[in-house]
């Protein structure tokens, strides 16, 4: 594809490790949106995610001498792993100390995403209803499955990166996808069957 040497992540990473803070700034600018988007799936408080990002990049800077070098494809997953770890730690802390205002919905506060689409995305009424239904099915998936789907299809990450970020084996990621899609296909087919039956009955 297009290889722009100036914005190459591996190069920026290398320069930052050599002590060039501007390169770290460029890396942050490049991955900022993806990190915030990912982070808000764990905690809706954007200000809090922004503070976490500060912590991550400052930590990277302080540890720059001991970090290993990364290839371009590894940089974003590495940053996402750091963010996830930090948010997970925060989540555990909250659970442990049982912050009252949060505990009301603490069950959903770790990786939480809604796939039910907004009207504006889909113009076709029929398709909309169907997609909305699929969206509801997706919303009911286990959190791990939702997170893997998010990383695969929003961030276009490959299985090894997803495995690294979520802290599970590559095989588990594959299994997760397989099970999820099999379940979805079954659910959709069953529903379709009942829908047909119902329509038939009505007519």
């Amino acid at each position: 594809m297009h290889s722009n040497t100036v914005d190459d992540d591996a190069l920026l990473w290398h320069q930052f490790q050599q002590g060039d803070s501007a390169s770290l700034g460029k890396l942050m600018t490049k991955h900022y949106t993806a990190l915030i988007h990912y982070g808000t799936k764990f905690n809706r408080n954007t200000d809090f995610i922004r503070d976490c990002m500060q912590d991550i990049f400052v930590e990277l800077w302080n540890r720059r001498a001991t970090l290993s070098s990364l290839s371009t494809a590894q940089v974003r997953p590495y940053l996402m792993t750091m963010l996830r770890r930090l948010l997970h730690q925060h989540y555990l802390d909250q659970q442990r100390y049982d912050f009252q205002p949060i505990s009301e919905d603490s069950d959903t506060s770790f990786f939480d995403i809604s796939f039910s689409p907004e009207d504006q995305f889909i113009s076709n009424e029929n398709l909309h209803q169907h997609a909305n239904r699929v969206g509801q099915l997706l919303d009911k998936l286990p959190r791990r499955a939702k997170e893997a789907i998010y990383l695969r299809f929003y961030e276009n990450l490959d299985r090894s990166s997803i495995a690294q970020i979520m802290g599970i084996s590559e095989q588990s990621v594959s299994n997760l996808f397989q099970t999820t899609f099999r379940q979805l296909r079954q659910q959709i087919n069953t529903e379709f069957f009942w829908l047909c039956l119902l329509l038939f009955y009505w007519l």
């Binding site: 600018t29 949106t33 400052v58 302080n62 009252q100 995403i113 169907h130 997706l138």
Partner: protein, 366 residues
Amino acid sequence: MPDYVTFTTEDFLADPFFQGWVRNPTAANEAFWQEWLTQHPERMDEVKLARQLLLSLQTEQPVISPEQIQEDVQRMLQKISVQNHRQPFQTVSRTNNIRWLAIAATVLLLLGIGWWFTRPENGAVIGPQLTSVQKSDGMQEQRNDTQQPLRVSLPDGSVATLSPRSVLTYPAVFSDSSREVNLVGEAFFEVTRNPDKPFLVYADQIVTRVLGTSFRVSAYPQQQQLTVAVRTGKVAVYARATSENTHKGVVDKRIISLTPNQQVNFSKADAAFRKTLVEKPAVIDQTVKINDFDFDETPVSDVLQRFEKAYGIDIIYDSDLLRDCALTASLADETMTEKLAIVCKGIGATYEIIDGKIVIHSTGCR
């Protein structure tokens, strides 16, 4: 063109050409996929599911402006440049610090033992005293009816300095999971650190939660505003649902986290928090020396970084605009706000406190 015959649902979903067809159908890709499907009718199920999923995989993402990215990147760069100045000292002095701490602790211990054996007999306390009530439910109540602040030692070793006309209630023995106290009026707390047992101060409509820090809570019943001000460490503040504020329907549900020299005001009228700075920020970095505030043609960005370091407060400014600004001044005894006013006057700028941070407005120097 990849071999679509071998594709699973997942592969279809990730394929840019397939995505293009579902999201932005054109005559060309429409023709391709219709043709492909008639050739491979057995793949219809996979394609259909992938298509439906792709249409469903829409989610609301927060909108992020380039300004926000710029702001946060600047903030980060500023932080690491401050840290750069600090780094070499920190690593060297840490081991030394521990040694000094050990020596200081030994001396304190000896002094303590000496005091224990030489102190006046019990009951010979002079001066104003707290009114202490032991309640039947095991709660201890301390009331300060005098004209001066008085110290209360809590069961866990924490100390509360209770202001006049204030009442502190706490259990004779704290529970296993937390340390909870009730405050009416005002007190300054110095909480001993215990990460396993958070320390919670319930005061009127707000709750302050810490693990080990020092901070002041002010909640006199007649005041319209409740405040929490932080001296050291980190503090979390949130509103609690009371009969008084829930029926109003609007309670600020945020958890406000405060760092040193920050303060939050909670207005009883609209049950909302507002974050700001304490009236007189104190120097929190103990390594700061008096002459650290002597400036001789010093770039203003350096000056501001020294402020950030000394007071632990974020200062937001446009480093490009301030590039040509330099300052010569000798500041020492002034409060932080006075110092800041002098700096701003020197470079023709103004400052504002927003959300517990200082924002410098300047048009640059030339």
